[in-house]
Amino acid sequence: MTFAPTADHRDEIARSLDERIARYMTGAPDDDEFERVARKLFAYQYERNAPYRAFCDRMGRRPGDVAGWRDAPPISAASFGEARLACFPAERSAFAFVSSGTTSSGRASRHELDAAALYTTSLETHYRTMVLPDAAGMRHIFLAPPFQEAPHSSLSFMLSALAARFGSRESGFFLRGDSLEMADLARALRSVEPCVVFGTAFAFVHLFDRCRMEGKRYRLPQGSRIVETGGFKGKSREVERDVLYGWFEEYLGVPRSFCVSEYGMCELGSQWYDANIADEVAGNYRREHVKVGPHWTRAIIVDPVTAEELPAGAPGLLRVYDLSNRGSVASILTGDLARTRDGGIEIIGRNPGAPPKGCSIAADAILSVTDS
């Protein structure tokens, strides 16, 4: 499969910074270099990203105050829907990823890139570590649309990049609009070679509903694996995670140890994956529901009110720092609740955020079925 996002509107400074970050991504972890790059990146983003600069000024933080990544003030992920958080002028924008949700201002989050090179290096490098540690490539079956059909979806961009980098010639996308192309998908699922099935949770639920209706079960070859990412809202009925993972085994024949969940968002260039495939392949103790990010990111758990770091294991908001966000803001406070565990993070839910609102709240008796 070919996928060559060639648009590149970086200036020399951005290009030079990207090259340094890319070297760090593909090299060995080095805390000192990470902090040096973080300081440089903060100075760059403070200078070029006016809304972030205003935020930092209000927080009383300027480049001279930042000794490392922890000192870079984390901006709320929701702010990506309320201001253009980019380090380059709009005319230099090459890609724009838009989230499905909206903020209180009624706008969706928007994350712009002036080039895809760093973004692609990031997603490919960590995917290989966490999903394909034992294979150079594999057939990929995507239950999502390709980037050409969803040009503002960061997920579709990622999947198209993965298909081009790691997918065999038989790889394909089997979701058009909101519908699975069942006949083609059924043929693909009879693959005789190990494969990766990568899709949103709602697409998997839809697939398994069809399997039940039609009395079909597949047995993917040993070594096959599942990558599932969030995405039930407004699309399909929700099911418990353990139930869904049981269906992976029941309908696709993929054991729990080779099923992982991906955590990512439109506002972040990097992804976090469950550690169990990497652990299994390495022969290590297999962690479950523990997500690990790449070495060019940091993740800590903070108090939702004060944003102060919490002790290990305490639940709180997930704060991340991501060098791959060179063109926007590297330091982000997500709206997700998590805790640290076994060298990674465990996502435990979504911050309830604002209490229900409008004259409408209420039908709370009915809500638990539809809103979780």
């Binding site: 935020f55 702010s79 958080l85 944003a307 209490p355 609102k357 709240i361 209420a362 039908a363 008796a365």
Partner: protein, 390 residues
Amino acid sequence: MTSGGVAVDSLAAASSRFVDEWRDAGSAVRREARARLSGGLWSEPVIEQALDNAFHAWDGARVRETVQDLRAHSFPHPLRALVILPGNVIGPALHAALSAAMTGTRVLLKAASTESVLADIVERQWNVIGAPLAGTLQALSWKGGDVDAEARAVSEADIVIAFGSDATLEAVRSRLPSGKRFKGHGTLYSAGVVSPNADLTTAAEGAALDVCVFDQAGCMSPQTIYVVGDASRALRFAAALDAAMEQARLRLPRTAASPEEAAASADVLRRAYVTALPAATHGLAAILSGPDNNGAPDHLIVVEPQGPPTNHGFGRIAVVKPLEFGREPVLTKPIERLGVAGTAADEIARALWGDRDELVGTCVTLGTMQQPAALKPDPLEFTAVRSDVV
């Protein structure tokens, strides 16, 4: 003359008595409501203000007149209605009861867990009032997600009226059997506007009153207040609003913020650091916080650039925006109410909604936004005139 087989005079008299008792701050139902609602979402003074507001535009004469008007609609038989109530405001429980009373509808009031008091009080009140209301209203409650209980209630109703988010309403609607009538009241917001001739202090006092009743959680709460003029006038209004909120909290205090609200407020504040106007050189702040309330600011005012409304919808958080003429209209989605301070001129309307008059439900005076003139749900919804067949 009858309405659904019930004598109109009898309906009017019973409905008037229902309203009169709720308008009388010393009545048994008001005393009970005060006692049972306090300690919940709102402080006692806020509850009292909200109960005063609920039927402020209604009296016996208007009730009789409305019942007479409703004769124009021929009811084949008294409809049975299920009303799924909101839990963040007081009005709809009482309004649903009055609309049902005036139309002679048998009604099931499904209360929210956060406000389950009023439906229960009204049920017993109607039994005391006697015929024709006695026994025609039943308060219901069921645990979240109990679709069986919902289905049982739905089966007893000809029409379902529900308050909820758009997703919730769609979920309710999708579970209704074919042929059932449905009317949904989805999420709506309101806004305020301060005209060029308005006194900023007076306008701020009115806005503070509208903000404090229901703590910005109601559809008639002014989430964003536009101030005609440049940024400096918006900043001056925000300073006046901050002072007015300080005064208002003495008269209409808040209850303690929950940990969830504290977290949500902190997020709003962090986002305000991005969205607020730059700090003014003349010392007027673009972000103004009230005193600490259990980890959340008692109130929060953010001055943002001109643009569409920002709707946070909780916690006495108000956004102030300048409104300069000659730019794109700021409203692109419907709002429930517009509270106006000063004179409402055509040029203000053009700046707010251009030629799309349908975007604004009603215009009222800032400071009276929480005083509904009409009932919601209104009586015609109980006559199947304003509902859809599923």
